[in-house]
């Protein structure tokens, strides 16, 4: 209150006061300790306008505040700091003065300056714009650098994304490294982090990871050839899926990180194929379920044999039932087949959608896939865009494709407005393989809360069979096994914590739906 008295006295005597800025609530306009504001006395306190910046006494905090009017009401103003999410209710009689201009690095900027008015329009002219701006500012430097270097690596056109201003003294290279790995783009980024000044010993670790990615691709290429030779001998038809083909659209070997190779086989050949894999020294789990049947072998091998492109429980699966009818025989192999370019692209994008909307999310590497597939496949003369777009509409993912296209353009043109996009924020959070939080939230949105909890507490026989195989032969055991499962969950701290986490997610989903 003493400050208020002093300022009031000066204003009464001089009519104006020039004061240093304290705090960061009006960033980026006003920087603490550096910038100043010229304040003039206000004669008619109830006649201020939207976007004016008054100095007022905030009774709640007992301090003087300099914030911007966003709404004018009958007896008060609603104000926000340019860098704040929360608002204040300011009675007219709390106003002491009004800002008429600012001193930034000793340059005076009056409030009718065109550049200042442009700033007000871009940042402050609606609650939505303010929120978008604030969300953009909240992205940590490490993620900004991740996104920019990723864009630079994918485009590889020699144009720098200028990360120098984002890499300050406090820059956490370890976080950048972890995030790059979480999105499976570490190998791709290595040459760029080297140039950006990544320090040792992290740089050596990063280099080793990039070499490991290349080694993995070479090993997989050789092993896959051996497996396919065996399939040919046994007359097993196969279609190569996803990353095996997408990687060839990338400009260099070893930069598209992956976890496995996928083959589509006909159902009648699955047991024969399984025997081949086991003979080659592979271990197999989930041997009954050939939708995603994984086979593992050291040092790095993970091959999945599929009888369908998507699980039949997913509505999108009905659009992919004729894959074999439309497949084209490979020229150089007797039993190798491939999809048309258009069907392959539709499948890859639907798979991306499935991870994004149905599973736990999808990461940045999908944008690289999308970019390279568009460059090398979609934008070729022969590509039938009409058929592809019609199919996306039938499947119900046209909006998703449109949004992905828009985000890809923004990402690779360096448009920082992307940082405040909700869908992009979800993808950043997800990482390559999604998060449990997203997976649970997606399932709840899809099935509804009631159905979600019923299936969680009383899962299907097929689900229970994974941990209690006896239920396959004796389905009558199912209710008893539910009880055993619930009791053991209550006794396990880990599972109780998981339940608490899912309840919290459930509440968030409900709150978002109500908004």
């Amino acid at each position: 209150m003493n400050d208020a008295v002093t300022i009031k006295q000066v204003l009464d005597k001089e009519g104006f006061i020039i004061h240093k800025i304290k705090g960061g609530s009006m960033l980026p306009l006003l920087e603490e300790k550096q910038d100043m504001v010229r304040l003039e006395a206000v004669k008619e306190k109830d006649k201020l306008k939207k976007y004016d910046v008054p100095l007022f006494f905030d009774k709640k905090t007992g301090t003087l505040v300099l914030h911007r009017i966003i709404k004018v009401k009958k007896d008060h103003y609603i104000t926000y700091g340019d860098n704040r999410k929360n608002y204040e209710i300011v009675p007219f009689d709390s106003v002491l003065a009004i800002a008429v201009g600012f001193y930034k690095k000793d340059k005076y900027i009056p409030c009718d300056d065109p550049e200042y008015l442009k700033y007000v329009k871009e940042r402050c002219s609606s609650i939505r714009k303010r929120k978008l701006y604030l969300r953009k500012r909240e992205i940590p430097a490490e993620l900004r650098v991740l996104i920019k270097l990723f864009a630079q690596a994918v485009k590889n056109d020699g144009v720098s994304m200028h990360v120098e201003k984002d890499i300050g003294e406090d820059f956490d290279w370890q976080t950048l490294y972890k995030e790059a790995n979480r999105h499976c783009i570490g190998a791709m980024l290595f040459p760029y982090v080297k140039k950006a000044g990544c320090p040792e010993p992290l740089l050596t670790l990063w280099s080793q990871n990039a070499d490991r990615a290349l080694r993995k691709e070479i090993l997989f290429d050789a092993e896959r050839k051996c497996i396919l030779d065996e399939f040919e001998k046994e007359q097993i038809k196969y279609i190569l899926l996803k990353g095996i083909l997408i990687k060839d659209f990338y400009p260099k070997k070893g930069i598209r990180e992956f976890s496995d190779n996928d083959f589509l086989l006909e159902e009648k050949d699955l047991e024969k194929a399984k025997k081949i894999m086991l003979k080659r020294g592979y271990e197999n789990k989930d041997s009954e379920d050939f939708v995603d049947c994984p086979f593992y072998k050291p040092p790095v091998f993970n091959f999945e044999l599929h009888k369908a492109l998507f699980r039949s429980t997913l509505p999108i699966s009905k659009y992919f039932k004729d894959t074999w009818e439309k497949a084209i025989k490979d020229e150089n192999r007797q039993y190798g087949y491939h999809m048309t370019d258009e069907d392959f692209y539709i499948y890859v994008m639907t798979h991306f959608y499935k991870h994004y909307a149905v599973n736990g999310g999808a990461g940045l590497r999908y944008f690289a896939d999308f970019y390279y597939l568009n460059k090398g496949l979609v934008k070729t003369e022969k590509f039938n865009n009409k058929y592809v777009n019609k199919t996306f509409e039938k499947i119900g993912i046209s909006e998703f494709i449109k949004k992905t296209t828009q985000m890809t353009e923004q990402l690779f043109s360096g448009d920082e407005n992307l940082f405040s996009d909700e869908m992009f924020a979800y993808i950043l959070e997800s990482g390559m393989y999604g998060t449990n939080t997203h997976a649970v939230a997606n399932k709840m949105k899809r099935d509804g809360k009631a159905k979600y909890w019923i299936t969680r507490l009383f899962p299907s026989k097929e689900y229970m069979a994974k941990n209690y195989p006896s239920v396959k032969k004796l389905p009558i055991l199912l209710p008893f096994l539910w009880v055993i499962r619930l009791v053991s969950a209550v006794c396990s701290k880990e599972r109780r914590d998981k339940f608490t986490e899912e309840r919290s997610i459930s509440k968030n989903v409900e709150n978002k739906a109500q908004k």
């Binding site: 490991r212 290349l214 080694r215 070479i218 290429d221 260099k252 040092p299």
Partner: protein
């Protein structure tokens, strides 16, 4: 002698040697000469036989070729890539 379960691959303008199933979990980056020697060692062979191939393909004196081959072979031996 021959290389034991080794893949020689060209990647991004470089040659690399990767072991499949051996104790060496790394990757060797090879110059074009070392890659040539490694390819020759995919079948059972000797230093002299490799030297014959090197001298056929490159303009190099035999004793220099033999020394280079022996150095490369030693590097492979150190990381356990050779079946003697």
């Amino acid at each position: 002698m021959k290389l034991k379960d080794v893949i020689i691959s060209e990647a991004n303008g470089e040659f690399v040697a990767v072991s499949v199933g051996g104790s060496f979990n790394g990757m060797l980056k090879l110059n074009s000469t070392a890659a040539f020697i490694a390819e020759a060692m995919q079948e059972e062979t000797t230093v002299e036989a490799i030297a014959d191939k090197v001298c056929e393909s490159y303009e190099v004196e035999r004793d220099i070729a033999v020394k280079s081959i022996e150095a490369v072979v030693e590097e492979f031996r150190k990381v356990g890539l050779i079946a003697e």
